[in-house]
Structure formats: C-alpha cells, structure tokens
C-alpha cells in the first residue's frame, strides 16, 4: 500500500492557503443533502460538529458520556498555544512550528505542523468571541505564560481549567446547532463498528448505553474524534471511560493505525498510593515554572525532606540541563524521574516518586503570590495526598497522559478508508514522537473548527448528493451482527476474574515494558504475556448483568478486549522502531548520559499498521510513510 500524505507542494507558508484555494466546494443548497456522523464531542468532535452544522451539513453527533460537555478535553489544565506574539518576545508562526516539530523529535509532517501553527491564532479569536474567560492583564488584554519546552510566552490559559473553558465554548456552539436543527445529538451512545460499503465509510453501529439497543446509522462521511488510548495502561490521567474502541474497530475494518508506541508520560502526577488506585491525577506542568525537582543524593535517606540540607539534595534537572533546568520537555523530565528512582533515589513509601519543591519561591515571592498562581493546584494536591505543599515538597511521579499515535490520516485528516476521517488525539498527525505542553487543545480545535470543515467538503464534492444504500444493506447487518456476537460472547464466558482485574494486570505489563523506557527483551516478553493474558480473558472473564440494560461493566469489557489487541501492536511497533525518539526510548539506543539517539537514516518514517487478523497472535502488516524535511534541519535535540 502506497501512503500518500497529500501534503501540497510549494513553500511552507503557502501550502494551506494554496490547498484551500484548490479544494472543491459543496454548493450551499447541496450541503443539506449530506449526512455527516461525528463520534466524540471533545474539542475536536464538538468543534467539528458545530462548524459543519453551521455550514449547512446534517450532522449526527454521538458521545458515550451523558452529555457532550463531559468529554475528556474538559480535564486539560494548563493552556493553549498560539503565536500571537502579544508579549513581543520574539514569537512567530515559524517559531511555534519549529518548536512543535523539534519537540516532536522530527517524527511529524512539516506541512501539517505548519498549518497547525498558522491556524492557532484563529482559535484564540474564535474562543474569545464565544466568551471563553481567558486570563487577562489589568489593561483588559489577554495574558500569556510560558510552558515546558518553550522559551517564549505563548500559552493562553483560563486558570488551571483551560480545557474546560474551551470545551464549554465548543459544546455551547454545538448545542446552538442542536437547537437550530443542524445537529442530531445522541449522548450515551457508543460506536461499536464502522460500516464500509464499496470501500467507503458509510455509517456506524452504536450501542445505546441506557437501553442496550444496537442501532444502525447511515451517512456520507464518518468522523472519529474519539480521543487517545492512554487507558491501555489502566492507570493514566485519562478519564475512566476514555478508550480506543471506536478507533480500534475502524482499524480492524482496514484503517491504518500509526505510531502506536508513541505515548506521552507526563512528569508531574500524584504518585500511586495502593492497588485500589483507579486513576492518576495530573498536577499542571505550569508548576515546573516555580517548583524545583529533586531527590536526596544519598540512597535510603529517610529524613523529612525539609531536614535535608541543600548540598545533600540532587536537583537533577537543573544540574543536567542548565539552560532549560526544570522546564525541559515532558519526555526528558519523565525519563529522568525514572532514572533517579531506578537508581534507588526515589522517595515516599514506594520509592517511586520525586520531590517538587516550592520552598524557594515561597521564600522569594511570599506565600500569597504563590497561592494566587497555584492555589487551586495546591489545594487539590493536599486533598488527594493529605500533605500540605506550602509546608513540604509535593511528591510527584510520571504518569501516562497523552497518546501521539492514532489512526493514520493524510493532510485532509482522512484515513486510508475514503470517507472515514480522524481528528484530535484520535489521529496520529501533528505531534510526532512527543507533544509539547498546551498543544493538544490547539490541535483538537484546529482540526475541529478550521481544518476538517474545509477538507470534508473536498471529499463530499465527489460523493453524489443523496446517495443512500439503506441500513438494511448487508454491510450494516453484518457489522451489527459482529457487535452483537461479541457482546453475547463476553456475557456468556462467566469466568472467575473481574474485568478490572484483567485490565489492571494488562496495564502493569504495558507500563513495565512499553512505558518510559523499552528494550528488545522486555518487549518480546510483553508480547507473550499479553497474548497469554488475552487468551485467559476470553475464557475466564466475568461480565455481570445483562445486555439490554444500563451496564457499565459490559461497556468496559468490550473496551478492555480492544486494549488487549492494541497493547500487542504497541509492543510490536516499539520493537520495530530500533531507535530512540521523543517519548520512545529504546535503552539500546541512548548516549552514555541517557539521552535519546535518533536514527534518521533508517527510521524517519511514520509506521502505519494494517490489521490482518488475530489468532492467538495479532497479525499486522507494516506500511511506511517517509517523512521528508525540506524546511527544517534535523538536529539532535538538546536542552542542556
């Protein structure tokens, strides 16, 4: 299979403009003849549904939550980047582009990333017009702050709740279209399959999560905005219901899954406290602007942190990376936390945490100033950890946060299946091997408000308006039957182990072997362990309740089944990529100081996997999209 990125030719700054000029348009009176399904209502899905309905398309919107407003984008804390250059500190679209492509360790497409940087400014305008309460200066103008991995202040924020405010903006725009009749809205519906007719995506199968009923929906195009797959690790900062099912079922229908091993581990999360732990809570990266990360220099130093004098503290980020210090990108910060803990320098009851200390900033600026900046985060920490960060350092440890991998899409955000699009975290497109802070919101909204509404028209212009096969077409019947059979199978196993037990065990295999650092031996071992556990899952899982009723455990069972397959693909992908890049650290390919060593000669490509079946083992064929760099020079990343 030849993968064509469809990135336009020409100078970087002309590409998107030129593409917009050349794309086909759908006439206004024809738009209402098209049906578009959007699955997911986060930033990417909510913004896309609202914008396409405004254009005149008939949109059907689905989400698993009880309201579109609860999609997991809501939990993003820190902010959203845009190169407005309001602070006059030397920012530009080029610099945002460059930081993003460098931050992604040169494993993303130049054309996509430049477009993202270009469109970002419009997102801020749109959000402000909607009434998003971004932080402001006393002048009444918008405020900016700096964020990990950047040397300019380009992050717009709404306290520690930027994702919430942007999502509510998109949600409200969506609800306005529901009111106007442009969107048919279906909360508490889970997509279980995509329906393909004559090679084109023509609809989906959903399960009504209240009644349990399976339903068929036909459309001219299907957009998956279903988020990332971080919950394959069981413990992550993702919401409990976040899952890979929609993307994975599309993958099993032929959509390529790209770079599954690129998983971002966020450096500042509250550490695990026990087996009952159901999720990990992130503490915003903005804390690293003022907090200092350290561990005791001496192994087993069990003194209270406040009693350890400065010369006996190892401020490892400041020592190793003098120019970025505590503000190194996420992958570097996470990896170094793991290194010091592996060396036995970790603190806390499990030895799996490091200190994030605010003593010095409190001394310098006073407690009130610190409280004004981080008060809500400090309160949250104290509430969860039971310790007061004004009086003693926080304890933090990395946790899975974001997945850069996802469905392969071209420049138009279309997968290799015509008519099937993927946006936001569900696609692989803009962050390469590592995402910079405050870039997820930017990408979700860029895809949703500005890119997809334009590119989908280019596709639909070639679809005859009013084409309908009917939901009694064989493809619908078979897809529904497949979904039904799996539900019945899960309910009939009647085994001895709970779904959570399986998921937790799977998560531990994935975290231990496909986590912050990987190596050949562990990855091969993980593949075996995943296969064995998957087999046990299908013979020994206990799924309670009934199918024709509200049954959250049945929902979870289907999602965990998909995570079992995805986990194996992640290991395969990590094994195949014999280099270190961004978040993917192969221990065999690192410098003596533990820095990632890329191999541009052999691995400057997107790994796009094609599903071939599961029979004890997962069968997948690798396709490569070569990444060519015309405008940036590939350098070894250095934050020293």
């Amino acid at each position: 299979m030849k993968l064509d990125s469809k990135a336009p030719e020409g100078p970087l700054e002309e590409k998107w403009r030129k593409h917009k000029k050349e794309m086909k348009l759908v006439a206004p009176n024809n738009k209402r003849k098209y049906e578009v399904i959007v699955v997911g209502t986060g930033l990417a899905g909510g913004a896309a549904a609202a914008s396409m309905a405004e254009l005149g398309y008939n949109v059907k919107s689905f989400c698993i939550q009880d309201s579109a407003r609860r999609a997991h984008s809501i939990a993003a804390q820190g902010g959203i980047n845009a190169a407005k250059n309001y602070p006059n500190d030397g920012d530009s679209i080029w610099r945002l582009f460059y930081d993003t492509i460098k931050g992604g360790d040169y494993r993303s497409r130049e054309a996509n990333v430049y477009r993202l940087a270009e469109v970002a400014n419009e997102i801020i305008d749109q959000a402000v017009a909607q009434g998003v309460p971004f932080a402001r200066e006393y002048s009444g103008l918008l405020a900016n702050r700096s964020f990990g991995g950047a040397q300019v202040s380009r992050t717009f924020y709404a306290r520690g709740q930027t994702g919430q405010q942007l999502l509510l903006g998109a949600y409200q725009a969506m609800m306005r279209q529901v009111n106007e009749g442009g969107i048919e809205y279906h909360p508490r519906h889970e997509m279980l399959d995509v329906v393909i007719i004559d090679g084109q995506a023509r609809g989906i199968i959903t399960r009504d999560l209240v009644s349990g009923e399976l339903k068929r929906w036909e459309a001219d195009a299907v957009v998956l905005a279903t988020g990332g797959y971080g919950n394959v690790f069981y413990l992550s900062t993702n919401a409990k219901n976040s899952n890979v099912t929609a993307a994975w079922r599309a993958h099993k229908k032929g959509a390529l899954f790209a770079n599954p091993c690129y998983v971002q581990v966020h450096p500042t999360c509250i550490p695990v406290s026990g087996d009952y732990q159901s999720k990990l809570t992130l503490m915003s990266e903005s804390l690293r602007n003022d907090g200092r990360v350290w561990v005791p220099r001496k192994k087993g130093d069990d003194r209270h942190p406040n009693d350890i004098p400065d010369q006996e503290r190892f401020y490892y980020l400041e020592e190793k990376y003098p120019s970025f210090g505590n503000l190194v990108p996420r992958d570097v910060a996470s990896r170094n936390a793991k290194i010091v803990c592996d060396e036995g320098l970790g603190v806390g009851p499990t030895g799996l945490s490091v200190y994030l200390d605010f003593r010095d900033v409190i001394k310098r600026d006073g407690k009130d100033t610190v409280a004004a900046k981080y008060g809500n985060l400090f309160d949250m920490y104290e509430n969860i950890a039971g310790e007061n960060p004004y009086e003693q350092p926080m304890r933090i440890y990395p946790a899975v946060h974001y997945t850069m991998g996802g469905l392969w899409v071209d420049y138009n955000l279309m997968t290799n299946i015509p008519g099937l699009f993927a946006t936001g975290e569900a696609n692989f497109s803009d962050h390469g091997a590592n995402r910079l802070g405050a870039s997820a919101l930017m990408q979700g909204l860029s895809d949703g408000y500005f890119v997809l509404p334009a590119t989908i028209g280019n596709y639909l212009a070639d679809v005859k308006p009013g084409t309908r096969y009917g939901t009694d077409h064989n493809a619908f019947i078979e897809a529904e039957k497949g979904a039904q059979d799996q539900i019945d199978k899960l309910l009939n196993i009647n085994g001895k182990r709970t779904i959570v037990d399986f998921h937790r065990t799977l998560g531990k295999i994935v975290w231990d072997n496909i986590g912050i650092a990987r190596n050949k031996e562990d990855l091969e071992k993980a593949i075996k362990e995943i296969q064995e556990l998957r087999e046990e899952f299908w013979t020994n899982v206990y799924v309670p309740g009934e199918k024709n009723n509200y049954n959250k455990y049945l929902e979870f069972a289907g999602r965990v089944a998909d995570f079992f397959e995805l986990a194996e693909l992640m290991a395969k992908d990590a094994l195949e990529r014999e280099e270190s890049c961004g978040c993917h650290l192969r221990e065999e390919y690192q410098s003596e100081e533990g820095e990632a060593i890329r191999n541009d000669e052999d691995f400057s490509y997107v790994a796009a996997w094609e599903f071939k079946g599961v029979n004890g083992q997962l069968q997948e064929e690798l396709h490569k999209e070569n990444l060519e760099f015309e405008f940036v020079e590939l350098k070894q990343r250095s934050y020293k």
Partner: protein
C-alpha cells in the same frame, strides 16, 4: 501504611425508571484512608461481583472534579461533607473506622433515575440549547485583543463559567430548582461585551426552558451554593431574576 477501616454502606438500588427502588447494605472492611470515595465503590463492586452479586451503577468519568459526571448524595449531602469538593475527589480520610454511609442518587423530578445511582440530566443540555451561548459562527470572530475586557469582569465571568453541570444544586434544593446552574451560565456570558447583545433573550429562553423541564423556582434557601463543588455564588440567581423581569416588562 495506614490501617484499614471498616465502613458500613447503605446504597440505593433501582432496576429502572419505572420500578420501585430500595436500599441495600454492605460492610467493607478494607477501606484505606487514601482511597477516593469512588474507589471505595469500585472495591465494593469488585467484592459484589466475586460473590456473583450485581454491582451498583454510578456515573463517573474524569475522577478529578471537572467533568461533572459524579453526583452522589452522601449522608444526605450532595457530594458529601467536604466543601467545594466533588465526590470523586472526596477521600476516605474524611471518614473514620466504623462509620455508616448512606448513598443516594440526586432526587428530582427533572432528573429521572436510569439505574441505581445513575440519573438522566439531559434537561441541563436542553437549557443550554435554547440560549446558553454567544451566537458566533466559526470563522466570524474578530482579532482577540480588539475587544479589551476589564480583568475584574473577566475573572468574575470565570467564577461562573467554572460550573461543571453536575446537578448538585438541584439535588440540594428543596424545590429541585436549576436556578444556580442556569444563572451561572447567564452570569458568565453577561460579563462580556460579546455576551451582552443577546442578554435579554437568553435569560427568557433559558428560564422558560428550566420551568418546562420541571425544575422548581428559587426560594432563596441557598442550599445550592453550599453544596456547589465549584463554590458558585447565588448572586447569579439574583442577576438572572432581574434580567428575566426586565425582559418581560420591556
């Protein structure tokens, strides 16, 4: 490590919207102070399943107090005993060994029970649908800094915009009113010049929808403010009523 606690639970079970519900009881003796309240319910459900019993359904998602999915009424209080904390972030260190805890769904005619502790809050979506927005199409926005907004006003708008739509306000109100939810959205948008344009119409549409959904009116009990996990002020309700009256007489 901290010692395990014994907690006596009494929780609501109801198979569906049209059948009567009842309380069930269960004693957990492995509750750890670091567990969140919902993690304790996870442990309960694991034990129930291993005994072949049906787990109890409850809504949750982010478990960090921002998505607004969880909305348990704990010992009669929406979200439990801690001020400005959603029940997903309520930790068991707020309880002691031997405590008895009763868990119920929020009870309101406009929030019909789906199953056990899970209720249908789609009425909130419909209140937003009729006017909870600034009517601006994608692409028609002006440059963001062209319209300065006083910092105080913008900060105040944020306070109201922080609503997570959990419905604790409805659960706590003796009238099961959605006034705090509705008022908070109005107050948020009204603080901005771009929200001012539709101010009157928005107030009338949203308040009328609230009534239509079967929520009660406000009698100034202020129970809503007391349980709101985001600490939203009932000043929003005063403003809403003023705007509504003004719109009707003008």
């Amino acid at each position: 490590m901290s010692k395990d606690m014994t907690i006596h639970l009494k929780y609501w079970k109801q198979a569906g919207p049209d059948v009567p519900g009842h309380f069930e009881e269960y004693t957990l003796d492995t509750v750890n102070e670091h567990m969140s309240f919902l993690e304790m319910l996870d442990v309960l459900n694991e034990e129930l399943q291993l005994q072949g019993k049906e787990p109890v359904e409850f809504d949750y998602d982010c478990r960090e107090g921002i998505c607004g999915s969880c909305n348990l009424v704990i010992n009669g209080q929406a979200h439990g005993p801690k001020a400005e904390v959603a029940c997903c972030q309520l930790h068991m260190r707020n309880y002691k060994d031997g405590d008895k805890i009763t868990i119920e769904p929020p009870r309101a005619a406009a929030f019909p029970i789906i199953k056990d502790l899970v209720v249908d809050r789609s009425a909130f979506d419909r209140i937003i649908e009729v006017g909870g927005y600034v009517s601006v199409k994608t692409g028609s926005a002006q440059e963001a800094n062209a319209l300065p907004v006083e910092k105080e006003k913008s900060d105040e708008a944020f306070e109201y915009a922080a609503c997570i739509g959990c419905g604790a306000c409805v659960a706590a109100c003796p009238n099961a009113s959605a006034s705090l939810f509705t008022g908070a959205k109005l107050a948020h948008l009204n603080k901005f010049p771009q929200g001012e344009v539709e101010r009157s119409n928005r107030a009338v549409a949203m308040v009328d929808q609230m009534k239509e959904e079967g929520f009660g009116d406000c009698s100034n009990f202020a129970e809503c403010e007391a349980v709101c996990p985001k600490g939203i002020s009932i000043s929003a309700i005063a403003e809403m009523r003023r705007d509504y009256m003004k719109a009707l007489v003008s």
